[in-house]
Symmetry: C2
Subunit: 227 residues, 2 copies
């Protein structure tokens, strides 16, 4: 039995309530003897389950079955082109606006730049099969671009270009529901007042903010994942 076998058996016992939530399960050494494997193998298996949130491990205290297992849903944040192509549609994008502009306060706070700082403002429409798929508004700190060159993002979307050219360290994402403004509705080909699924994302390198994006998906869009 390999470490996956051990993991599956432990999982089976948790699911089968052989070890109920809150219970301390046998130590690694004991399980290693029982399963006839090395302790390192048991360790690998239990570590995996702990990362998944099903077990809680503490030195000396031992391993216990999580009382309230925190389900961890992993969203794969792919670039929009991949997302569109995964649906079997042809991707395209159009840059609607591209100019230097002072950031509004809300964005400045979110990015951690000085209020009124002048960043590159981009407004883009992502297309799937020629039809509007998502509306993007982005502020970009051109200081972090390698070589100081600012692409026009006509050929490759800012989204994809940044992923490939600027390695980032951290970021956060927020999802919310809003109503489309008239301008947004016009861009997306929907009606003003239709619900839009909003994704807001800010990213930083270790030293400086990179970009803040606000992405709007029209009615019918669903963000989906397995648990």
């Amino acid at each position: 039995m390999g470490w996956e076998g051990v993991r599956d058996e432990v999982l089976r016992r948790i699911r089968g309530r052989v070890w109920a939530p809150g219970d301390v399960i046998p130590g690694e050494e004991a399980l290693a003897v029982e399963f006839g494997v090395a302790r390192a193998t048991v360790n690998r298996a239990l570590r995996d389950l702990a990362e998944a949130g099903l077990l809680e491990r503490r030195r000396k205290a031992g391993t216990r079955v999580a009382l309230l297992p925190v389900r961890k849903a992993t969203l794969e944040i792919s670039i929009i082109r991949q997302e569109v192509e995964a649906r079997g549609e042809v991707y395209g994008h159009r840059v609607l606006e591209r100019r230097m502009e002072a950031v509004p306060l809300s964005v400045a706070l979110r990015m951690g730049v000085a209020a009124g700082a002048r960043l590159l403002f981009l407004e883009t429409l992502h297309l799937a099969g020629g039809r509007p798929f998502a509306h993007e508004v982005r502020w970009l700190n051109i200081a972090v671009l390698p070589g100081g060159v600012v692409p026009d993002f006509a050929a490759v979307s800012a989204n994809e270009w940044l992923v490939q050219n600027v390695a980032y360290a951290t970021g956060d994402i927020e999802f919310s529901a809003e109503l489309a403004t008239a301008a947004e509705a016009a861009a997306l080909g929907i009606r003003a007042g239709d619900p839009v699924f909003v994704t807001e994302r800010a990213t930083w390198t270790a030293e400086a903010p990179i970009t803040f994006v606000r992405l709007l998906h029209g009615p019918g869009y669903r963000l989906r994942t397995m648990v």
Copy 2:
């Protein structure tokens, strides 16, 4: 240098473009020699980065820096009580409806039960500080409840009760934006036509469907995570 040190150094080289996207990086053995650690330690570090999506590893082919690193955002799906209490507010909930009912077709398809199957229908309002926080509509397959006992969910929400009493194997989650219907708006204390953030979740044991939940959060709600 421990495995975390190796991971950090490799990460530094990826971020610093010492190893650019697409590049094959040195093998484990070579890195082990360079860093003065055992191969197993390098393996642990690289495996960690591969799980994070920054490296792609294939036997024989070696390890390369991901061309399009798929950012994996991990959403922690906690029970609603925890979410409310994490905001420093007092949690409460009210069961609005509770009856056996034939599932609508959309739910039947989503859960994988026969169309028209009779399941327990629950409508619940989750409160934060006495104010509506989320509106929940749930269909529950009582056949999977241990002992065949059906709680009234007045003391403990179905959400929390199921987490603690029915271990599940798989599930999926979908997020979307919709407009509140008149009934939903009334329950949540918002206006009809306000945007609502919708979370739909279906869960299964290995053998049978457990539940399907549709959760509505009013304007202002944001689902947030770090990347």
